[in-house]
């Protein structure tokens, strides 16, 4: 009878970091489905391509680092990164763009910092920002959802084969199906008032695809909240602050600013709020810190969307707040039992 000599605790909740990642991946699937529904096979091909590449790069680096490959690939973190990046990319972006993005995300933004848990920046968003700055043409060539092509069914969308051909450079995306995103339209409205833009633009009268996708992400996010994968603090604070600031400006000047719902449902707001800003590795830790972190992202998103150079701002806002997370952690520590107040800052009191 060999008795184990192990220190407490002896009970352990059945859990695995991979489980958490898997849950997030599962929660993102409705969003992926919605994207495919409105834009065709492109997003799915992107996700698959990105996932394969991510696993390859991850395996290569782990091999270089002489760690057990299976153990590390089993945490699903590479696939999650690939999924999130692919969901953020335009549906028919060329393969090499995705490849560069995944390489940068996995090898440089994650593994060079020491792998999972050590990266200061969200790898998917680092890659997204890199691609947006380096390849603006490819990164802004969004196709139109089928609702705006023929309005009835997905028949106008490229077939699976066509989609493959487009992504791997064998064919061009037909001009008829490329168009600007609603945020771009609004960004470049110039002197036109909101009301005029609304009456002119067919696009702005057909927002339903983007709103549908956002709803799908929201549903996934609520699932994750229910499963207690993360707390409500970051997405709640982010959406609330975005709502408040856009509401404030819209309320003060409705003809110049977009309504709050426009900001909440378009672009990558929901994807960012429930899938990217909540990345625990790069976010603030304490509940108070999470509130500040999320709220700041919401405000930054609004500021960059309105006064920055880019129509959407989730990646930049999140990366900026990634920078501040360690600082937030030092200044938003919870009060420990029996202590009058929480410790603040780096020094010891």
């Amino acid at each position: 009878m060999a008795l184990l000599h192990i220190s407490s605790p002896h009970a352990h909740k059945a859990g695995h970091a991979g489980n958490l990642m898997r849950q997030v991946i599962i929660a993102a699937l409705p969003g992926l489905a919605a994207l495919c529904y409105y834009f065709g096979w492109g997003p799915l091909i992107n996700v698959l391509l990105a996932s394969v590449l991510a696993l390859l790069f991850e395996a290569a680096v782990i091999k270089l680092r002489r760690r057990p490959i299976g153990f590390y690939l089993g945490d699903y973190s590479a696939i999650l990164t690939a999924l999130l990046l692919a969901l953020a990319l335009p549906p028919y972006i060329p393969w090499w763009t995705t490849t560069i993005g995944i390489f940068f995300a996995i090898v440089i933004a994650k593994q060079l910092y020491g792998g999972l848990g050590q990266n200061p920046f969200n790898p998917a968003m680092i890659a997204y920002a890199l691609l947006l700055i380096s390849f603006p043409v490819e990164m802004t060539r969004w196709s139109a959802p089928f609702t705006l092509i023929d309005g009835t069914s997905g028949a106008a969308l490229p077939s699976f084969g066509d989609a493959l051909a487009i992504i791997f450079g064998q064919a061009q995306l037909p001009d008829a199906v490329t168009m600007a995103t609603p945020l771009e339209v609004f960004k470049h409205k110039g002197a036109v008032t909101t009301e005029e833009l609304w009456s002119q633009s067919a696009l702005l009268n057909g927002l339903e695809p983007w709103q549908g996708i956002s709803l799908a992400y929201l549903a996934g996010g609520i699932y994750l909240l229910i499963r207690k994968v993360y707390t409500w603090h970051i997405p709640g604070a982010m959406l609330f602050s975005l709502f408040m600031i856009s509401g404030f400006f819209y309320g003060s000047d409705p003809s110049n600013y977009a309504p709050p719902l426009f900001h909440l449902t378009l672009g990558a707001t929901m994807l960012g709020a429930f899938f990217i800003a909540t990345d625990p590795v790069t976010a603030a830790t304490s509940n108070k810190g999470k509130l500040i972190y999320g709220a700041s992202i919401g405000i930054l998103v609004y500021l960059i969307r309105n006064w920055g150079n880019y129509p959407d701002a989730i990646a930049f806002a999140i990366l900026l707040m990634n920078l501040t997370a360690p600082f937030l952690d030092y200044y938003t520590r919870p009060r420990t039992y029996g202590h009058k107040q929480a410790q603040r800052g780096i020094g010891r009191k």
Partner: protein
Amino acid sequence: MSRIWSFHGGIHPPENKRQSLQRPLERAPLPAQLILPLQQHIGAPATPLVEVGDKVLKGQAIAEPTGHVSVYLHAPTSGTVSAIDCYPVPHPSGMDGLCIVIEPDGQEQWIEHQGVDDFRSLEKAELATLIRHAGISGMGGAGFPTEIKLHLSDDHIVNTLIINGVECEPYITADDTLMRERAEDIIGGIEIAAHLIKPTHCLIGIEDNKPEAAMALTRAARNSELDIEVVVVPTKYPSGGEKQLIKLLTGVEVPFGRLPADIGIVVQNVSTMAAIYRAVHHGEPLISRITTLTGDALANPGNVEVLIGTPISELLAYAGADSQRLNRLVMGGPMMGYTLNDPQIPVIKTSNCIIAATAEEFPEAAPAQDCIRCGHCEQVCPVGLLPQQLHWFAKGKEFDKALSHNLMDCIECGACSYVCLSNIPLVQYYRFAKGEIRREQFDQRNAEQARIRFEARQQRLEREKQEKADKRKARAETASRAQTARKALTPADSQPATVDPQAQLKLLKTAAAVARTKLKKADKALVQAQTDGVDDLAELQAAIDGAKAKAEQSQQALEQAEQQNPAPPPTLAELKIAAATARTKVNKTEKALADAETKGVPSADKLRSSLEGLRAKADAAQLALEQAEANTAPPAAAEEMDIKQLKTAASIARTKLKKAQKTLQAAQEAGEDSASLQQQVDQLSQQSDTAQQAFAAAEAAQPKSTGPDLKALKSAAAIARTKIKKTEKALADAQQKGLASATALAAGLEKLKTKAQHAEQALADAKQLANTETVD
């Protein structure tokens, strides 16, 4: 119903309490031997009162407390002490400890004991001593001596007595069973505790997963005079932690570094209360307790009343353990209990549960993955820490940061480890970090002590050195003082101590002169400045005043010194020189004056006046010289004048006398008045006599040892011989001429011859003497 507060975090692990509640409370069989560790409590190990071979009775004290924080130990049954030695004891480290081993005789023969009829009639101290002698220590966890917690000093005012019946750890049902079966004992114990500490409230905290226990206690409490409230709290781990329970029931937090008693709260376990009741009302010491036997490896899990010291192997056998499936033996709960690596380890006063777990029940931890900072640990931490941050710091050995993140507040409840998705053994990291920090602090304290000691030593050495130096200095000073004293004494005897004061006087003179010069210069500078209109007049004035003061001072000092050490009277020679100089000056000036007068120079008046001054000076000098001569001459003559001088003086006197006689003769021949001359001659002859006498006296006073001068003696002898020859010639001449004086000459010749003979003799003597002297 009291309000219930909440504490941060907490977890809901599977309770697993049902298994051990299937059977009623049983009594474990008497084991073959009882192993009683001397330390079953916090504090110092007890000191044995028995020796190997001693017969002991049930309830007999076999070890007494060592110091204040320590506990009595009693024989759980009657029997023989078979050993007092080291055996494995229940401890997380698996270490050995000193134990008393008793072989039961099976008689269960009690020592004489009886309870107290009315504990309220006892003094507080008496009651506390009773509890102390019953060997009761906290039975819920750490095992702190109960009597100390109940017998607080008067400056602790307790307002709340909390009885902990929470039993939040999974698997354990010992307290649940006790509360169901012996609620009256618990209430009785609470009454005793309340009598000792006089709280305003008594609260019993029970989790809502033990409704029967809560019911039983509520019923029992109704019969009590005290207002005891049973508070049902939601099931959540670790509600049973002392600090967490206090927060739950009172909303108050125990401040960091303080004890519950500091905020007027005392927490006691229900089992401890029952033990107090048994001790006070029945006089039974703490010799048994209820322990849960559970775990999937047991066929008959349940609660048993076991004697303290019963080896666990006996209990496992009793509960039907499957040794094939038994993988991990845990004492305590699955969250904070520790593994036992030897089934011979005995049950002690704090052993509330033994889990015989299978590998499936407590699987080996999965390999730890990277922390993804998911934050679940932070959500469950009951203390409000940031466990993942602490993990990073512990892993990176950044202990100062861990400390600033309140690592030391961690109660090691294991909630963070329980929820960790990456299977990181967080509590182990914290234990490691805490151990390292304690070691560092220990080292620091040691280093600090060493530093203090070193500095004290340095100071002592320095002080000793200084003292030595001082002593040396003091010695040197006394020696030098003695030296100067000796010096001061010796010259006083031999030489007049005029040298030192003279030099001093000289110095003072110089100083006075210098001061005067300075004063003059300063005066000049002032005048110059006044004419030039320079600003710093005040400074100059001050300088002058200073110089004046100095000059006066030095002058005064000089005068004083002169008074104290009058200048030695000038010698005759000096006076003579002074007089001569004065005369010469007078002469010169006279000449110059004459010259000036003849030339009609205007400075003649000046010269005249200075001439008068000089004349006066010269007169004064002459006077002084004469006085000095008069004062010093006779003694000086007696002392200083050598015989030669005396001789000369005598011969001069004689010559003068002869001259005077001649003059007198001539005057008499000339027929003049010779009375005054005669007088003069008498005087002179008298003087001549005195001189002659002085000469003779001096010659007589000449020390004999000096010996006669050889030369003088030679010449004397020669002279004598020449005189003899001359006298012989004169005699022969006179005899030839037939003069009358021939006889006189012959007589003189005879005399001379004797003289010559004497002289020759003296010369010979002297020569001989000189020779012997040279030889010596």
